[in-house]
Symmetry: C2
DNA sequence: CGACACATGTAACACGTTACATGATTTG
DNA sequence: CAAATCATGTAACGTGTTACATGTGTCG
């Protein structure tokens, strides 16, 4: 439930056809969210099925545009805020928590390994930051960096909790 | 591809049946990752289909255990590190980047709205931190808090980039 | 001409998720 | 006994994703 809304958002700026949407989507996300073209069409089919977009145009050049329902759905999306209810499902979190279940030793191993990999990833992302003045590209790169930093910080917290606990025991 | 591995990880500690796995999964994630029981069974079916687990036991009390392939797959999972390749797909990121496409005014609106909601969420999560000494519960709560903090920090970065740019223009 | 970008689409599969149906066992 | 918990499973759907097939136009 993200590609859907992304395509809707792009259509709000005017009717497009599928291939243009793929290009626009990847441009808007500065390349951090590559899309298989096929997925654009399947997603557009589903949006049409749900009455959020309709199409005009001959075969070989279909143009998609928002319907009234589509505009409404998009409006809701803009206003929607992150829900408390189903918390973010994070694979790193799961892995570490499952490792804890296997004993603190195992968990500390996993944490150490993940941290060193994440550190390398973070440095790569910092290095590959785009130079140009395009705010979208800069923001996309920031997102990746901030995420990696947060994961690292969490791993440090986990390690601290485990070692503190070990020391107490 | 996360529930799968979580169940495998739980089975590494010994054979279990489906319902036990649901309970154990939710206990290990300290309740932040609720599972519909049905999903446990569908996932176990798929794991069996893929030869990673097999079952013993009569009807009404099937017991699942890891196969050799399952042990191997799990070993890979423990060692696996976050891939650079498909970067994390984040709905918040998408929303803000798409808003930028609609103009900086719109983006700043979205950022403001998201930030205030996230701030409330963060405070709620800090408030509801578990008191007990269970490290897993504390770590799970930490993960949610750290994630919210990171999202907030990113929103601040975005706003700074947009306003700085506006000032320059 | 050959390669490449533009353009559309289908088929198939994976995982996550929910709703529903069913029965055994425990416990108040 | 009635309710809750334990326990298993099926059917169905949604999104994401890939692989594949097909054709047009453009440019070196």
């Amino acid at each position: 439930m993200a590609v859907r809304e992304g395509l809707l958002a792009l259509l709000e700026e005017g009717p497009r056809h599928g291939y243009q949407l793929k290009t626009a989507f990847e441009a808007a996300t500065a390349g951090v969210w590559p899309l298989n073209v096929g997925q654009v069409y399947t997603t557009l089919d589903r949006l049409e099925r749900d009455g959020l977009v309709d199409t005009v145009g001959d075969d070989g050049q279909r143009t998609y545009r928002l319907t009234v329902d589509g505009v409404a759905a998009l409006g809701e999306w803009w206003r929607a805020v992150p829900a408390e209810d189903p918390p973010p499902r994070d694979e790193l979190m799961l892995k570490v928590l499952m490792a804890v279940e296997h004993g603190h030793e195992h968990a500390l191993d996993v944490i150490t390994r993940q941290r060193s990999a994440l550190l390398a990833l973070l440095q790569a992302r910092r290095r590959d930051r785009p130079a140009g003045g395009d705010p979208a590209a800069a923001m996309a790169a920031d997102a990746l960096v901030v995420r990696a930093e947060a994961d690292l910080r969490w791993l440090d917290l986990c390690e601290a909790r485990l070692t503190r606990r070990k020391a107490t025991t």
